[in-house]
């Protein structure tokens, strides 16, 4: 299934793009599974999505925990903890 993945702030800079379409393997239907799939792409992804890096995620523009479900067509965003205000 295909999902749209967005990156923000330092993560966007490390990956070198702000968005892309990702084809997810069958069974990778949570935010944590998508993160692990991205980490497995190697290169900048491996470091950026390492388990040591603190990241937050949103599915369809709602902040969610890693266990949240991801389905075809969803917009999934990864970003560092927010620093507004």
């Amino acid at each position: 299934m295909k999902v749209k993945v967005l990156y923000f702030a330092s993560l966007r800079e490390k990956i070198g793009k702000d968005a892309e379409e990702i084809e997810l393997p069958v069974g990778a239907a949570t935010v944590a599974a998508l993160r692990s799939h991205l980490r497995g792409r190697g290169g900048a992804y491996e470091n950026s999505f390492s388990e040591k890096i603190l990241l937050r995620a949103a599915v369809n523009q709602d902040m969610v925990p890693p266990t949240a479900a991801v389905k075809a067509g969803d917009e999934v965003a990864f970003f560092p903890p927010v620093t507004g205000g």
């Binding site: 923000f8 927010v82 620093t83 507004g84």
Partner: protein
Amino acid sequence: MKISVQKEDFDLGAEVKAISNNSKIGAVASFVGLVRDVQMTLEHYPGMTERAIEKIVGEAKSRWQVMDCTVIHRYGALQPNDQIVMVAVASGHRGDAFDACEFIMDYLKTQAPFWKKEQTAEGARWVEAKTSDDKAAERWK
């Protein structure tokens, strides 16, 4: 209720006046956040940002008497002493106005998708999130 994510500056006085136009309102509490002595750029997640602030304001309304409310957060390039954010809450009495205003600010800090990048003498750096901000938001639970 007004929520705006914008590049432009804002006028706190005008915003407070705009939500005070009701004889049942007895208190307006407001907060303005300023840039300290650095240049910075604020990035955000268009669409989600507005949605996240709406959720925070909705939560405040479920806990306190909020008769009207304005939240403005800027993005883009900001200079030292620029205004970044404002929250103003109108209520019947000051207790609700103060608490709702502080709650909205504390949640904005941890839930609204903004990221600050500071320009320092050593180059640009992304500001790291503070655990004190998480603690400030947690005390409302």
